[in-house]
């Protein structure tokens, strides 16, 4: 198989590119720090300004790691959803799963003023992660149950959109009745941000991330047989219910945790798997999963670099950047290929 060689070459190039983008991402920010000093902070004992050290170690590196986790996690989530729903336009945002996570967070941040007594949880990032995961799990399972009775791919998307609307409506109602400070907190969360994560929060984030990623091992092979439909997969010995539940768990936890820590981020999950398919020209999940993860991480790092508006002190909402990037990519893919494949 000479295919294998060219795949390896592309993977090698992508990883080199990812490292390049990562270095680029680390080098830019509101305070300009010379590249040689960044290297010094990371790899040598050389004396560097303390403020620079803090910026790199406690701000930029956690932010870059967050970007990598968010980008790869959302992309893998999107890829799994597209396979699960046999729908090339599925993704965490389109199907309302991100909105479900938002609802979970809204109930926690805004709902405390209504129900009271939960204030101590809402301040902990662990609580937000759990709430968001539960929110996305609830919406994801509901969409899946409804999707089972309608086979039409278009209907599934519209159902996802409707669930998105329902959750936004509930969030609006919650917002209407909540205190101004809590509302402000929620709105800022909703802009999305990759920064502001302490090492402590990051460790919670990454353990959720690694946990759900490790579950991928169970479904790597069945994913490919799902490409030709559930009936065929079943006839090849796949336990569909088990695989479906695992996929449900992975996508909900990934989307939930990512949304909890960095806000609802649109289009990455939908667009990146298609970019991966375009580059590798395959549907094989053993290729597409790592490819989507690398490309997603890269895209998030680039988006974040743009969001920093290098050398300025402003940071744009990351959600706005990914939408500005992602939406045109999806439109371009649809126009160019006429038809998106799984």
């Amino acid at each position: 198989m000479n295919n294998l060689k060219s795949y390896n070459l592309i993977f090698f190039l992508l990883i080199v590119l990812l490292i390049g983008v990562l270095i680029f991402n680390l080098s830019f920010g509101s305070v300009s720090i010379p590249f040689s000093k960044i290297v010094a902070i990371l790899f040598s004992e050389e004396e560097v300004k303390d403020s620079w050290k803090t910026i790199i170690l406690d701000y930029r590196i956690p932010k870059s790691i967050t970007a990598i986790l968010v980008g790869s996690g959302l992309s893998i989530s999107g890829l799994l959803m597209q396979t699960l729903f046999r729908n090339p336009l599925a993704g965490p945002f389109v199907l309302g799963i991100s909105s479900g996570a938002s609802l979970g967070v809204a109930l926690l941040i805004l709902g405390t003023s209504l129900f009271g007594g939960l204030g101590f949880i809402s301040s902990s990032s662990f609580g937000i992660a759990i709430a968001a995961s539960i929110g996305s799990l609830v919406i994801m399972s509901t969409v899946m149950i409804v999707a089972n009775s309608v086979r039409n791919t278009m209907s599934i998307l519209i159902i996802g959109l409707m669930f998105g609307s329902i959750t936004s409506a509930v969030i609006s109602i919650l917002a209407y009745f909540s205190e101004p400070e809590q509302l402000q907190k929620f709105i800022f969360w909703g802009f999305g941000s990759l920064g502001n994560l302490s090492w402590n929060e990051l460790s919670i984030f990454s353990s959720f991330y690694l946990l759900s990623m490790s579950l991928l091992a169970f479904i790597l092979k069945p994913l490919n047989s799902l490409l030709i439909g559930e009936s065929y997969a079943m006839s090849m010995g796949v336990n569909i219910r088990f695989v479906r539940n695992i996929m449900l768990l992975i996508t909900s936890v990934l989307t939930g945790v990512i949304t909890a820590f960095s806000g609802p981020i649109a289009f990455v999950g939908l667009a990146v798997p298609h970019i991966a398919r375009l580059i590798f020209n395959t549907s094989n999940h053993t290729i597409l999963l790592p490819a989507s993860a690398i490309l997603g991480a890269m895209l998030m790092l680039i988006a974040d670099t743009f969001a920093q508006l290098p050398t300025s002190q402003y940071t744009l909402p990351i959600n706005a950047i990914t939408s500005l990037f992602g939406a045109p990519i999806v439109i371009w893919l649809l126009v160019r290929k006429k038809n998106l494949y799984l």
Partner: protein, 266 residues
């Protein structure tokens, strides 16, 4: 008669098939008893809605029988694990495949899944099985194409090839020639007959191609509203059973020409 049992692939005892909806049982056919020998090519004939698909689904455990049981290789089919079943029985369905970038080779290789490790890596033995099934179905020139580039006829061969790669004694096909033109329909029946005879596969297919079924099948299941008839094509024709397929009296079976004719209206 014990020796004979070794060559029986599928045995059905007191089987009742149908479906349950809202706790109500709808029995389509009951009291079915038959044995299918290894290497047979069985065609199931009958009108639309008569229960051909339900029978195939029950034989392949997609659906549970209402009563009685199905034995596969002398073992109740319900005692098989998913994986064991996948190594003994493969399916070819009428449903459309979701559009994807899979190549023909990858699609056929999926048939090896019951045998491969957790990541689905193909070993030498798997590749041998894939190559053999490609050869049997004569599609070597198609392997590097994407499957959505194929014509319906080519695609059907690919699906049969995938089932062969799964290396099962039994292959069940639901209306394999439904989208095909005459040439590809003929070729498909020829191929199925060849696989039964040469490769000793047990092949069970539902079809509306009565004439081709009579020419190629080793056994015919004739499903009508009143009866479930089993026999070789010759037996069914000589006993004038073929006429029972349609209740329309203006359609008659000509036993000499071995085909259905429309009675001329006076």
């Amino acid at each position: 008669m014990n020796i004979d049992n070794k060559h029986i692939t599928i045995e059905v005892q007191d089987l009742a098939i149908g479906y349950t909806s809202r706790k109500k049982e709808n029995i389509i056919v009951s009291n079915l008893n038959f044995k299918i020998k290894r290497g047979s090519f069985v065609c199931i004939l009958g009108k639309n809605g008569i229960g051909k698909s339900t029978l195939l689904k029950t034989l392949s455990r997609v659906q549970n029988p209402i009563d009685g049981h199905v034995k596969l290789e002398n073992k109740n089919i319900n005692t098989y694990s998913n994986l064991q079943l996948a190594k003994n029985l493969s399916l070819i369905l009428t449903e459309k495949l979701p559009e994807s970038n899979l190549t023909v080779y990858e699609l056929i290789a999926l048939g090896r899944q019951p045998y491969t490790n957790w990541i689905g890596a193909l070993k030498e033995k798997d590749i041998e099985a894939i190559e053999k099934s490609i050869k049997l179905t004569n599609i070597a020139h198609l392997v590097s194409k994407k499957y959505f580039e194929l014509s319906d006829g080519q695609f059907q061969r690919v699906l049969i090839s995938r089932a062969l790669a799964q290396d099962t004694n039994t292959i069940i096909l639901d209306e394999p020639t439904v989208h095909l033109d005459i040439e590809h329909t003929l070729e498909t029946f020829q191929l199925l007959q060849k696989l039964a005879i040469q490769e000793n596969k047990t092949i069970i297919a539902s079809t509306h191609q009565i004439q081709l079924a009579l020419q190629t099948a080793s056994e015919i299941f004739l499903m009508t509203e009143k009866e479930f008839l089993i026999g070789t094509p010759k037996e069914l024709i000589s006993k004038n059973h073929m006429d029972k397929l349609f209740d329309n009296e203006s359609i008659i079976f000509d036993p000499i020409k071995e085909q259905f004719l429309l009675k001329k209206t006076p």
